[in-house]
Symmetry: C2
Subunit: 307 residues, 2 copies
């Protein structure tokens, strides 16, 4: 198995062309820029619009990254799906590619499902992918799935599959829950990634593994500085600087807002494209976001294609 | 285009074998039995565990039904998906097969999406499938999708695509909403199917088109009698008789309960199998369901394989 992946990861935004197809070259360029700023690649996360991308498209994009020479050991593809065979196929593909980990959503159509049912889903993935299965990170995002990754579920899965179950992404935004995950399981080698860099200063001292955060897509260097510097005297300043950038994007339109900024930085208006059911940011909000970043003299960190 | 499909439809339960693969032969037999009792085939609905079945599996099952000689004109396959290209592929496939209609879920991962985004999803499906697109029925099931099909959305879609947008399934369980759909749009040829036979006696007199109800899977004849007899003196008795059967299954375990009953009737315990995240019914509940049906001397309507 590859080394553990820790630190700062981006749920990589997925660029689409005018036909709403994934723009492979721009995707590779964005991933390369993120890697260059020490961000790992959590491709096909929520902010990647992964749910809007077919399994075949996800596998083709992963292959394209590998063919472009990007290291699988820095990747944690999202491989969850409502249909078990699809989750198995995606997990098998990413495992064969040598991915450092798999970020696995529970099935999210049915609501009020039992913990036994969610356990069975993860168990079937692990059993079917078999001995080559990459490390699995459980994806807790109850506001979108309505299917929580509970502490008792983690305990059961860790007990049954200690070699595969490696951690979780906690997108609940509930610090008490993130802390409980760390307090209960970090000692057993379970790596907890909160979904916001705002929790880094609190999570790292108690054993958190890093973060997998939307805004790593626009501020990888700033967020990595928080990760590296949390023990130092500069830590509060670094944290508040990253938080200020995050605040610009926070709200219901985070994905289109980040895409709008990349469209501006790259000089490619096509970057603003999203797939339905998301919609592009309205011009006024987009202008406001860009203006706020400019007002804080935000460094675009050498974004490729920047004018 | 084929004739309009109206009346009583079953969101057809999907049998799985011990490897959790679709059991094609048993699926065909179940569909044939349903057709024999005047039920249309809303294959790949919620009760079919459609979200747990891949697009490739859904298309293969549709093909198998056609190869077995079952009439496409009695089918309304579910073709919605979170990923637009998948919804397009499924809709194109079912349209080419000559399906009477497509029952199309909105994308259901993202929450709080705008009506513009949901409109764009349906519009892209219709535009991409093109002139051969089968009639589309909008699937309103907000308790699972958290993405409602609002009256204003229906109005916009009907205005833009009057030839394709043909109706809706209302699974909200909210009679006021079903009535509002009928009152507003039935006059324009928009066919509204409530998701419970309990609404038939109320919906049919004001212009409802029928129902697409889970329990048609176990009581097609009884529910069809309600549909046929709503004008007659026997109507209240027929309705209450169907309602009594429905009540046996109602609750959080409707799908596994119905599968348990088919396992019992067919003598094939494999019918009880569900895919994760659902779980099979516990034995006590299963026994209770069977006992309740027996106590009301419920007629299993010649279920195939019955002992």
């Amino acid at each position: 198995m590859t080394d553990r992946i820790r630190g700062v990861l981006a749920p990589v935004l997925t660029p689409f062309n005018a036909k709403l197809e994934p723009d492979v070259q721009r995707f590779i360029a964005h991933c390369r820029w993120l890697l260059g700023h020490n961000a790992g690649l959590a491709v096909f996360g929520t902010n990647s619009e992964a749910a809007s991308i077919t399994a075949a498209e996800r596998m083709a994009l992963t292959d394209a990254l590998l063919e472009a020479g990007l290291p699988a050991g820095r990747m944690m593809p999202g491989t969850g799906a409502c249909a078990l065979p699809e989750a198995v196929a995606l997990s098998r593909h990413a495992s064969k590619a040598g991915a450092a980990g798999l970020l696995v959503l529970p099935p999210f159509f049915f609501k009020g499902v039992s913990e036994d049912g969610v356990f069975a889903y993860y168990a079937e993935i692990i059993e079917r992918v078999g001995s080559g299965c990459a490390r699995i990170y459980l994806y807790h995002i109850p506001q979108l799935t309505c299917v929580p990754i509970t502490l008792t579920l983690i305990e059961r899965l860790l007990g049954r599959y200690p070699e595969v179950i490696a951690g979780a992404k906690d997108s609940s935004g509930d610090w008490a829950n993130t802390k409980a995950m760390i307090d209960n399981f970090a000692g057993a080698g379970f790596d907890v990634f909160p979904a916001s860099e705002s929790f880094l200063s609190a999570a790292l001292p108690i054993g958190g593994a890093g973060c997998i955060s939307a805004t790593v897509n626009v501020n990888p260097a700033g967020i990595h500085r928080v990760f590296e510097g949390w023990r130092g005297a500069e830590a509060p300043r670094l944290q508040s600087s990253a938080d200020r950038v995050r605040k610009v994007f926070q709200g219901p339109h985070m994905i289109p807002a980040m895409k709008q900024v990349l469209a501006s930085w790259s000089g490619d208006p096509q970057w603003a494209t999203v797939r339905p059911p998301l919609v592009e940011l309205d011009k006024a909000t987009g202008d406001r976001v860009i203006a706020e970043l400019n007002a804080m003299a935000f460094d675009m960190q050498g974004y490729p294609g920047a004018r």
